[in-house]
């Protein structure tokens, strides 16, 4: 009874290029890669008939069939493991976590199997592990995770997080073509944000993994950030501009391995840096970046590298609490003012 499908529901295939939100850009990217390369397939919970909790894989099932669009049991370990095994066979799995929070249940296989396979016996694992991350949408402690810090100390995993539709499409394609495992984090707050909607090229393109992007050039101070915080940084920069402060904003895009050269170049120009991220401050990626700057650009620094991040708590549900938890524009502005005055 439950296998028949209710309505003659059929999702339209995505445009090639054109104006797109972040979620549409990712969908385009996966779709095009699946057309281009028969080894690419999609696996995860509710990715088929339902098209994914956030509809990233909408329509793929109709187009590519059950063999290449696989609805799994609620088994994140099996999803990761199966993606690894298929990748060993020369396939290119794109595995979805329904929320990135559930990556904790795949943590064991990611850090032990996926990350170490090539090192141990030369077997590269071209697998992508993706899903919605991030807070600010009132989803409470278990649907708001920024998971990058879990994986930074495990060599063998690349980590990517786009903040624009263009980058999202270019990076998902690069991730799928990458010969090594890539974690691809999608900030759920950005999925459908009208502000981000932009025109994508009709032609095939990728965005190289490992390269940051200067979102805004400036001379006085660098804000190094990524994901949804790019917008916070830009908004802060605009406010600071009114005070005559010329802020540079760097979007890392790739978190591992992150673009040291771009960060250093920026800091050597502005001599002041703020690292901004959404995860809790302690143990977040900000420490790694700030330490790198302080170590490798020490002589260029005219002030301490400041970190602006969430407080050290779980992500609370209630709006006033979550707003307090998260770094706000004002926090960035304050930090920048103080640092500028240094």
């Amino acid at each position: 009874m439950s296998t028949a499908v209710k309505k003659e529901h059929k999702s339209a295939p995505p445009e090639r290029g054109g104006p797109a939100t972040l979620v549409e850009a990712i969908r385009q990217g996966i779709w095009e890669e699946m057309e281009r390369d028969p080894t690419v397939f999609v696996i995860g919970e509710d990715v088929g008939t339902y098209g994914g909790a956030f509809k990233v894989t909408d329509g793929l099932l109709d187009q590519f069939g059950r063999e290449r669009v696989i609805d799994t049991p609620i088994s994140e370990g099996a999803i990761v493991g199966a993606a690894c095994g298929a990748a060993l066979m020369g396939m290119r799995p794109v595995a979805e976590f329904q929320f990135i929070d559930f990556i904790s249940a795949g943590f064991d296989l990611l850090t032990n199997y996926a990350a170490k396979c090539r090192y141990r016996w030369g077997a590269g694992l071209p697998a992508v592990f993706r899903g919605p991350c991030g807070s600010g949408v009132r989803s409470g402690p278990f649907h708001s995770l920024n998971a990058e810090s879990f994986f930074l100390n495990t060599a063998g995993l690349k980590i990517v997080e786009p903040s624009t539709p263009y980058d999202a499409k270019g990076l998902i394609k690069a991730a799928i073509r990458d010969p090594d495992p890539v974690l691809y984090f999608e900030h759920k707050k950005l999925y459908r944000l009208p502000r981000l909607r932009e025109e994508l090229p009709a032609e095939d393109y990728i965005v190289e993994i490992g390269k940051a992007r200067t979102v805004r050039e400036g001379r006085d101070l660098s804000i190094i950030t990524f994901g949804a915080m790019v917008l916070t940084a830009l908004d802060a920069a605009e406010e600071l501009e009114k005070e005559g402060l010329d802020i540079e904003v760097i979007d890392l895009r790739t978190l591992a391995p992150f673009d040291k050269a771009a960060i250093e170049a920026s800091v050597k120009k502005t001599n002041k840096a703020i690292v901004l991220h959404e995860a809790s401050r302690t143990g977040g990626i900000g420490g790694e970046i700030a330490a790198t700057i302080a170590e490798e650009a020490f002589e260029w620094l005219d002030g301490p590298v400041l970190r602006v991040a969430s407080i050290d708590t779980p992500v609370p549900y209630s709006p006033p609490l979550e707003d307090y938890y998260l770094p706000q524009i004002k926090d960035v502005v304050d930090a920048a003012r103080k640092l500028a005055a240094y």
Binding site: V5, K7, E45, S75, G140, V308, S318, P320, Y324, A335
Partner: protein, 358 residues
């Protein structure tokens, strides 16, 4: 192997509408109490949907429409001292365990007076006094936690049982396997209520397991199982009563599979495009647990319609009151976010640092 089907779903005789099993010692008061909890569950959820539409509920609303009898009937067979850890769709069990609707409303609305003070959502909280351990989102994880509750209770010579609810989907998790297996080995009084409600989000049970019945999974843990008609509240009570007796007497873990049906989508936003035509309507018309129980109460002359209406009116009064209370609660103070990660007498709260203030 030991899978009992005594209370499993049966076809109604010659097209007669379904009611509930009469094979019970439940007293009139208890039966009416069951009715009250069924209505309370359904109407609290309906109120939540209203609040959601008014954007007063901050997160999602997850309905148990059509499967209320499973939660209510099973929980009703427990003592005050026994523990449950429900799924989001087991609101009925939470209410039976004595959690007040006001707490649930305040939680959903992210209010300061909610039991988690706005830190967590819906039924994600707990009450050790009432034997209620709220779930976390991560499915399966509560099974080993409940195993630990029972391990602790055994060391304290407490004679309690613990009930962990799990979905057809959640049984696919590694945590479910590890927790139940350990409880079975330790012969702990863990009772699993496996809810066969046909879906896990959009995924049909046939894509979660190659078994026909979830009860078959008990075999691999060396424990007995029962299949119950999850839409027959009396049957649900009866199988839990037996399971709890068995477990309390030292028989070890038990698995109860409740056959039911999730009539609403996973959450309010779900368009249920994956559901076959007419399926929901069939269940609504022929197999609604409250309809069935009303029919039973009337047929068996336990109560007349007036009595039932009176109960319902009482339920609505309670809901109105509790909802008002919850609405009147303030939102939490922002800085509250920083407190209570650790015992704050030892580790100070994680207040947002003042930038370079030193």
């Amino acid at each position: 192997m030991r899978i009992s089907t005594k209370f499993a779903p049966r076809k109604a005789d010659d097209g007669k509408p379904l009611t509930c099993t009469t094979d019970t010692d439940l007293k009139r008061e208890q039966l009416l109490d069951l009715y009250r909890y069924l209505k309370l569950t359904r109407l609290v959820e309906e109120r939540l949907v209203n609040l959601y539409r008014q954007t007063k509920v901050v997160g999602g609303v997850f309905r148990s429409l059509g499967q209320e009898a499973t939660a209510v009937g099973t929980a009703y067979a427990l003592g005050q001292q026994d523990f449950i850890t429900p799924l989001i769709r087991d609101l009925g069990a939470v209410l039976v365990k004595g959690i007040r609707p006001r707490d649930v409303f305040a939680q959903y609305m992210a209010k300061a007076w909610g039991p988690s003070g706005g830190r967590d959502l819906n039924i994600h909280f707990g009450d050790m006094e009432r034997g209620f351990i709220g779930p976390i989102s991560h499915l399966g994880d509560m099974i080993p936690v409940m195993t630990g509750i029972l391990l602790g209770a055994r060391m304290q010579n407490k004679s309690i049982v613990g009930v962990a609810y799990i979905g057809d989907g959640g049984m696919s998790t590694g945590a479910f396997h590890e927790g139940l297996n350990f409880a079975a080995v330790q012969r702990l009084p863990l009772i699993i209520v496996a809810e066969y409600n046909h879906y896990a989000y959009s995924t049909p049970t046939s894509l979660q397991t190659a078994c026909r019945d979830l009860a078959e999974k008990a075999v691999g843990y060396g424990i007995p199982a029962t299949i119950v008609d999850g839409n027959d509240v009396v049957a649900c009570y009866e199988v839990m009563k037996q399971a709890a007796d068995f477990a309390r007497r030292g028989g070890g873990a038990v698995l109860i599979e409740a056959k039911t049906y999730r009539r609403k989508g996973h959450a309010e936003h779900d368009d249920q495009r994956y559901v076959a035509d007419g399926e929901i309507e069939w269940w609504e018309k022929n197999n609604d647990p409250i309809d069935r129980f009303e029919r039973y109460l009337l047929d068996q002359k336990v109560a007349n319609q007036e009595k039932l209406d009176e109960i319902t009116a009482g339920v609505i009064r309670e809901i109105d009151e509790d909802c008002d209370w919850a609405e009147s609660s303030p939102m939490p103070q922002p800085e509250e976010a920083a407190y209570r990660v650790f015992d704050n007498e030892i580790v100070p709260p994680s207040l947002r640092p003042k930038v370079l203030e030193n």
